[in-house]
């Protein structure tokens, strides 16, 4: 028995690998600590806080989608309930002057998420795949609609608010200024990231992967896939509750939008656009989606359409997400054949960019016509002024879209061809696994 383990088990990590591993987390911690020193404006601190919350939420979502293979359309339930309970908790703690400082309060949100996931999860995790997706949607609608009926607890449309500064001071911090909230969020983000990464390394985390890939075989081995899914679901609810709690602390308010379908959709977008196949994927996605939604909404009124189109494009052409696209290049870098694909990228970039610009020009012109056709047709989109009423604009848009598409399609084929060659060359060198 021990012979077999010795032969089959991977060798224990070398000192260098260990150093690399712990160094990565230490670097992340230092980065989080130094970020506000570099970008100290109030706006960027708020952005960082939102990104941190979004990272925890997206990672908790990935425990379901990426690691256990459960597509949930209702993850915001645990996020939102965590947020509501925390707002109530802050009011109660502040009112009774209990000696609980704010940094511990997110735990209440986590426990709320855990409790509700434990209550609601047993029914929904009985099945995976499409059925699970539908059930999660139904349960989410149930909770979200109830939130509008139970007005005293959920505060109706307006939501309920709290004052986070009323709590016991924590080393002279009252958590009024955004910088203190930033450090609170950053600390929790780091702790949650490490905890969720550690979870993927436990036997439970491995079992989750097994359930995702082959539930029948898991059953043969002697585990109940339902139970594994259920436990994963509970963990996921716990971390989602922490994220919701941090969001509620950040805004000092919780309303029914926290629980809604839009919130569930956003986290799904973030996790999937980032890439669900890798641990780092949802982190990348959370950063990307938060920045995009903050940045695009300043540039155009219909940013959500671009968002949806981007998501569809990712689902169709890059199911591994952004991280998946980047990771594809690892064998090429190791094999030293990256140079073979880069020229084809440059060639493909021009017509693809033309296609995208044409699409954007067309969308913005149509938006101008339908939404504010009374106004001056000389509009600015993405900082570029153009005349939405002139036929020239429409022609340019049409030419760019149609022409760009046909040229781009040819260059994409070239990219695929160059890619195959590069990969084969890398494999031939025996360096890529």
């Amino acid at each position: 028995m021990t012979d077999i383990t010795a032969r089959v088990a991977p060798p224990p990590p070398t000192a260098r690998e260990k150093l690399k591993f712990y160094g990565l987390w230490a670097a992340a911690a230092i980065l989080l600590l130094l970020l506000p020193k570099v970008f100290s404006s109030g706006g960027s601190l708020t952005t960082f806080s939102l990104i941190g919350i979004s990272i925890i939420f997206a990672l908790s979502y990935n425990i379901l989608l990426g690691q256990t293979g459960m597509l949930s359309f209702g993850h915001a339930v645990y996020y939102g309930l965590g947020g509501f309970l925390v707002i109530h908790a802050i009011n109660i703690i502040g009112g009774n002057k209990w000696p609980i400082p704010l940094p511990l309060v997110p735990l209440i949100g986590g426990i709320t998420g855990l409790v509700f996931a434990a209550l609601l999860g047993w029914v929904s995790t009985q099945r995976s795949g499409t059925a699970f997706a539908m059930i999660s949607l139904g349960v989410a609608e149930l909770i979200a609609s109830s939130a509008l009926i139970l007005r005293t607890f959920f505060g109706g449309e307006a939501g309920i608010s709290a004052n986070r500064t009323k709590l016991l001071k924590f080393f002279d911090w009252n958590f009024g200024p955004q910088i203190q909230i930033y450090y609170l969020v950053a600390a929790w983000t780091l702790v949650c990231m490490i905890a969720m990464y550690a979870l993927t390394r436990t036997p439970l985390g491995r079992m989750c992967n097994a359930v995702r890939d082959n539930p029948e075989r898991v059953q043969f081995v002697g585990y109940d896939p339902h139970v594994v899914r259920y436990i994963a679901f509970c963990f996921s609810g716990f971390f989602a509750g922490i994220a919701g709690a941090l969001a509620a602390i950040n805004f000092e308010i919780a309303n029914s939008a926290y629980l809604g379908a839009v919130q569930s959709g956003t986290v799904l977008f973030a996790a999937y656009i980032g890439g669900v196949g890798f641990f780092i994927g949802p982190i990348v996605g959370a950063i990307f989606v938060t920045l995009l939604s903050l940045g695009l909404s300043d540039l155009t009124t219909v940013w959500q359409l671009y968002f949806g189109l981007l998501f569809i494009a990712i689902v169709m052409y890059a199911p591994g997400g952004i991280t998946g696209l980047l990771m594809m290049h690892r064998p090429l870098i190791r094999g030293g054949t990256l140079g073979k694909v880069l020229p084809s990228y440059v060639i493909a970039f021009v017509p693809t960019l033309a296609l995208v610009i044409g699409l954007m020009l067309g969308i913005e012109s149509i938006v101008h016509y339908t939404m504010n056709s009374m106004e001056d047709p000389n509009i600015k989109a993405f900082g570029i002024p153009f005349n939405a009423a002139s036929p020239v604009t429409w022609m340019i848009s049409l030419v760019l879209v149609v022409g760009g598409f046909f040229v781009a399609r040819m260059t994409w084929k070239r990219v695929a061809h160059a890619w195959d060659e590069a990969l084969t060359a890398a494999r031939a060198k025996g360096l890529a696994a």
């Binding site: 989608l65 293979g69 597509l71 359309f73 029914v123 929904s124 009985q126 099945r127 995976s128 795949g129 499409t130 059925a131 997706a133 539908m134 059930i135 949607l137 139904g138 349960v139 609608e141 149930l142 609609s145 109830s146 009926i149 139970l150 007005r151 005293t152 607890f153 379908a261 959709g265 799904l268 999937y272 219909v302 959500q304 359409l305 968002f307 949806g308 189109l309 998501f311 569809i312 689902v315 169709m316 199911p319 969308i363 149509i366 938006v367 339908t370 939404m371």
Partner: protein, 315 residues
């Protein structure tokens, strides 16, 4: 009381049949392609908006034909150029694709027609009370809705059970390879089925548009209930979807017309509980709970009969 029951029953059947019009398309698509079309309610919405726009140009009756055709064409294109591509990445990717599509369609509709409801009116030919029961006028348009839904239901049954096309479609459901070997283009059958399914949803949209409100969030409101219908009926079961549609039609319509609450039955709570969340539960009326009831039904069904009412398989 009798008045309430009769009117509510009529309205329940009406709502139930409309639900079934959509659920039938969804169920057929699900059982053929194995993917639950998340954007199905979006095609219902597209049908309503196309119907509105076309009826402005050429009148309601041509719109009733043209709008579903257009929506069906879009649906077929979505299957051919979108879903088929995504198919090789598995069902989760397909579901995600239709989810993104639903999101994008809602945004596009908002861009073109705005966020506020559009003025989609009942055609003048049907704008009169059909009959009067218990001093309530029952509009002729609702009768038309009912008849149209039942006609389509019967037509669908006949096509599926009695024609050659129906036989091929049914065979492609269970044995796609066999059908392919017999010389039928299974890919084209899939595309057609998807197109017809979305066209069915659009028919429901054109019919329901004037009676309900035509606005850009109508898909978001109806979509989740549609999935409740499909899950409660049993995934992939057409008769199950029929029963579940009517069941949900009845549950919702009757609940809306009832005003009772726990405090009416048991009396108000003591003043000590007046402003706590307990009083919310106590004072909420059945009518207020109506939007939640389909989901309660969903959870109950899942707890006691996970495969749905007439479903045969677990997943």
């Amino acid at each position: 009381m009798l008045e309430l029951i009769v009117i509510s029953t009529l309205n329940s059947i009406l709502f139930g049949m409309l639900l079934f019009l959509m659920a039938s398309g969804l169920t057929v698509i699900f059982s053929m392609l194995g993917v639950l079309n998340f954007a199905h309610a979006s095609f219902y919405m597209l049908g309503a908006f196309f119907g509105f726009q076309i009826s402005r140009w050429v009148g309601f009756w041509p719109a009733l034909v043209i709008a579903p055709l257009l929506a069906g064409l879009i649906g077929a294109a979505v299957e051919r150029y979108g879903l088929r591509r995504v198919h090789r990445n598995g069902h989760v990717a397909e579901l995600l694709f239709t989810f993104g599509l639903a999101f994008a369609i809602e945004e596009v509709v908002q861009i073109i027609w705005g966020k506020s409801p559009v003025d989609f009116r009942v055609p003048p030919a049907l704008d009169f009370p059909a009959f009067t029961i218990f001093s309530t006028n029952y509009p002729a348009y609702k009768m038309f809705m009912l008849l149209a839904s039942i006609a389509i239901f019967i037509a669908l049954l006949l096509v599926l059970k009695r024609t050659r096309i129906g036989m091929i479609v049914q065979a492609a459901l269970t044995h796609p390879h066999m059908v392919g070997h017999l010389g039928h283009n299974v890919g084209r059958i899939f595309m057609l089925v998807f197109g017809v399914g979305t066209a069915l949803a659009a028919v429901a949209g054109v019919i329901a548009g004037p009676a309900l409100v035509t606005q850009s969030n109508m898909a978001g409101l109806l979509g989740p209930i549609l999935f409740v219908v499909v899950v409660v009926g049993g995934l992939g079961s057409l008769p199950g979807a029929f029963i579940a549609s009517l069941l949900i039609g009845f549950v919702q319509t009757f609940a809306v017309s009832m005003n009772g609450s726990l405090s009416e039955v048991f009396g108000p709570l003591s003043p000590a509980y007046a402003t706590t969340w307990l009083s919310d539960i106590w004072n909420v009326t059945v009518a207020q709970v109506a939007p939640v009831l389909p989901y309660v039904l969903l959870v109950l069904i899942l707890a006691f009969r996970p495969m749905g009412l007439l479903g045969t398989r677990e997943t």
